[in-house]
């Protein structure tokens, strides 16, 4: 934006080349509670949706279903959500990210329903001009999501099942 104020000479350059840098206005945040798989294509689509020409650092967190927890072998998971409130809490997180990192853009998606080992349960993407902000915004968003968004996890074991915290 800095050279927007410079005097621009008449020139034969194409208009696009003489334009100032892309404005820093990021795209709107993306928030999603979904029963569809968060597979490679879905993650890539979220990343592309928040990436502008001014984004120099993109940090993606993917939470993946592990085959063990607290020493138990986990066979599969099920996530449940209070969807209307989950989305409003995620919107609150996105608003705080927009306030703290105004040049950043954020995407958050959480899958619900049954999940197999190795599948992705949650994705957070933060795209910012610089990497420090992208790391901080991504970390803030996933930490806050875990602390405040009404989503629950049931683990299925060899010999039982349990709703677990964390």
């Amino acid at each position: 934006m800095a050279d927007k104020t410079k005097t621009r000479k008449a020139s034969s350059r194409p208009t696009a080349a003489a334009a100032p840098p892309t404005p820093a206005t990021p795209p709107a945040s993306i928030i999603r509670i979904t029963r569809e798989p968060l597979d490679s294509d879905a993650i890539r689509a979220l990343e592309q949706a928040v990436t502008t020409a001014g984004a120099g650092g993109i940090v993606t967190f993917a939470g993946v279903v592990r085959d063990n927890a607290r020493g138990k072998r986990v066979r599969s998971l099920e996530y449940d959500a209070y969807p209307e409130m989950a989305e409003s809490e995620m919107a609150r997180i996105a608003a705080e990210v927009a306030r703290r990192w105004p040049e950043g853009a954020l995407a958050m998606a959480h899958r619900i329903g049954p999940l197999a080992i190795g599948e992705c349960s949650v994705v957070v993407v933060a795209a910012c001009p610089h990497r420090a902000e992208a790391f901080e915004a991504c970390r803030y968003a996933i930490d806050t999501l875990k602390a405040s968004v009404p989503i629950w996890k049931k683990e299925f074991y060899e010999d039982g099942e349990e709703w677990v915290e964390g």
């Binding site: 996530y79 449940d80 959500a81 409130m85 409003s88 009404p150 629950w152």
Partner: protein
């Protein structure tokens, strides 16, 4: 007055229902609703103390008053992520 209670996760399984209507005295608080539910549904009594509460999709403290038609949800310990 009547509020709508929705159940999720462990509470849904314990209640055997996804929602119910609960009659409460006018001006009853979250704490009063919680106590009444625990008394009426012993299956929930063990779970409710660990739950937060939300009124109309926002977290609410124990002393928050309910109003006619409010949506009240008890929030078990979170497991998202």
């Amino acid at each position: 007055m009547q509020v709508r209670i929705r159940y999720y996760a462990a509470l849904r399984e314990a209640a055997g229902a996804t929602e119910e209507a609960l009659d409460l005295p006018d001006g009853a608080t979250v704490a009063q609703a919680r106590a009444l539910l625990a008394e009426r549904q012993p299956a929930l009594a063990a779970l409710l103390p660990a739950c937060a509460a939300a009124i109309n999709r926002g977290y609410a403290p124990a002393d928050a008053p309910l109003s006619e038609g409010a949506e009240l949800v008890f929030i078990p310990p979170l497991g998202g992520g």
